[in-house]
Symmetry: C2
Amino acid sequence: MKYKKNFYQIKPNDVIFKKILQERDEVGYYKLPFQDINSITKYSKTIQSQEVIVVGMGGSSLGVKSIYDFLISTKELKKLVFLDTVDPLKINYSLRNVNLEDAHFLFISKSGKTIEVLSLLKYIDSKVSLIKKNTTIISEKDTPLHVFSTKRELTFFEIPKNVGGRFSVFSNVGLVPLAISGVDISQILHGCKKVYTDFFKGEKYYKHIIEKSRFLVENKGRFNINVVFSYSSSLESFNKWYIQLWAESLGKKNVNGTRQALTPIGLIGPDDQHSFLQLIMDGVRDKTITFIKIKNLKSNILIPESSDNTFKVFDFANTKEISFSEMLNLQADSTIESIIEEQDIPTDVITISTVDEYNISKLMFTYQLMVSIIGQFLQINTYNQPGVEHSKKILFDKIKKLGVK
Amino acid sequence: MKYKKNFYQIKPNDVIFKKILQERDEVGYYKLPFQDINSITKYSKTIQSQEVIVVGMGGSSLGVKSIYDFLISTKELKKLVFLDTVDPLKINYSLRNVNLEDAHFLFISKSGKTIEVLSLLKYIDSKVSLIKKNTTIISEKDTPLHVFSTKRELTFFEIPKNVGGRFSVFSNVGLVPLAISGVDISQILHGCKKVYTDFFKGEKYYKHIIEKSRFLVENKGRFNINVVFSYSSSLESFNKWYIQLWAESLGKKNVNGTRQALTPIGLIGPDDQHSFLQLIMDGVRDKTITFIKIKNLKSNILIPESSDNTFKVFDFANTKEISFSEMLNLQADSTIESIIEEQDIPTDVITISTVDEYNISKLMFTYQLMVSIIGQFLQINTYNQPGVEHSKKILFDKIKKLGVK
């Protein structure tokens, strides 16, 4: 009797952990927490401009924006303006109050040939000459953008070849603009190191992340949508970063050629209680929900008691004087309770201590690790993006037809 | 021989159309295109403030914001600042450059008792007294907010009882703030009328909308995610409005108690080519894609040719001088082509003529009609939102425990 088999099996946790240990030597982002940031810190202090234009698409801007937008309402930072499109309406609108003469320009592209970045570079250079004083280039070595920076004698920061765009926030891609803006990038790396160390020591983080990853993979047929429900508007850009990280890393064919799809969705509370929540509660149970709360919002704005008798009519909602922070977290807790009561909606809650560099980088590094682990469970290549090449080829064909200069 | 049956059957198109004709008499939004806007136009001219704060959650702000953000980069409008959260970080940040003394405040809540709106009202009233000169209230009649407006002698605009929050953009909810901002609201209604008339005459729109709705319902098991991929950043708020309209209207149990879930996702091109596109291409084929393009972006910003020889290195991408608009639509077309080639990704393309009031309202009224039709196909109540009541109850219980004043 002969027996052949070709089962797709989800590997045991310890095998996955070994695979992560193996890829740690090849995949660049794991090493970023331990890099030397002296040259970045030093360079950032030489930039006098009060406005910094960050030109980059996808992974070249979403990570920076996550951290910047998380911190901006509690910290004095230089203004970063993000150009991440060729939409002329947004370009115009983003630059409407910017004095280009006094601004600093950062062009970020891993491949050094992203068409949107090059188009914007040509446009800006036609308005104000890009020279050493006002321009920084961040790219892989030996790319068109790198060669350009050499010819123009511009300051150049390298993106390591083995660091993928969506895993690059803790490389020069993120650290250079953030340092220029005034973010404490040593605290950023400190947060990454904490997660890295806890994880590879095999403690709490290890268990949480592996357990969650395995759950998502084992139940991907039933729960094909993964919602991140963040209870602070300061996490809206983080949500977008999460969507890119998740969609582009995990939307792949696996070793058997089977299409995988854990589809990410980002929500903001309480806003989306008035929008998406109805679908979570009464719709098909095809979603997992991860809540993110911030314990200390560093804000003391109060919802006042009022003795004015015209307010009597609101008595049903009249609390003692409480803070908006408290109200926000009461709303988060109410939504969480109502969802957990449903029992068949897989839910977890991440609570961030406060709004600072250390905490946002812990969150983001944790998500990177989790995506790597899910990728190993799914038996896919987490770090490439073959699916977007075809539309790029079509675009370049169209451009050629227009008549290359 | 006896025979019993209890099949769930999708009804024929003409039955659905008849049901829409029936609900047209009960559901308020159908009549909005034909309302008299004289009093709004007149009132809007009396507002001198250059900054207008719009306080409203979900349907009370998403629709206004869609139209405002669509128009703002091509039209001179008074600044609208949206407060749609109790997150103190966003409240602080949104108001950082606003002179409250000179601002006008619009409080919008259909129920007149939205906790976020009341909290913000109390907060703002503690900073600057809310009086007739600086405040407008928009609500249903006989709600706490309406009573408050009477006691304070504030200007009040009514939301009809039979117009649901997410279908209220063409009622006073949308028209009052938009008129104050400087938007031509007669053109807004003109766009609605055009869609309404074409649809009920049973012509092109009728066929398109019914055909698409039926497809989505017949295939909801296979394609449970509906992506809107808008090729202009000016449609980002429209995407959010679409998400609310879709999720809150269609995320329901039907007449048989079966959970329905067409899950909406909003993407922006080209940005999300660098993010979500990989998942569409290589992931499970569980998504329909609707592209929205704008033919004439009213912009002549050019990507210049360059004779500077440092640009030689970018020759591969050097076109003749073309506009950013052209580049944006080339990118849209390339992505559309690459997705259509895949054959098993259901796709349609909506092309808007240009960036103006008439065109955005046509798009939005069409989406409202489509959601009504899908609701009829699904045999659900499209206009309620029972799933969000439980978390509100929990919240009020928590507030009570804190000690009501």
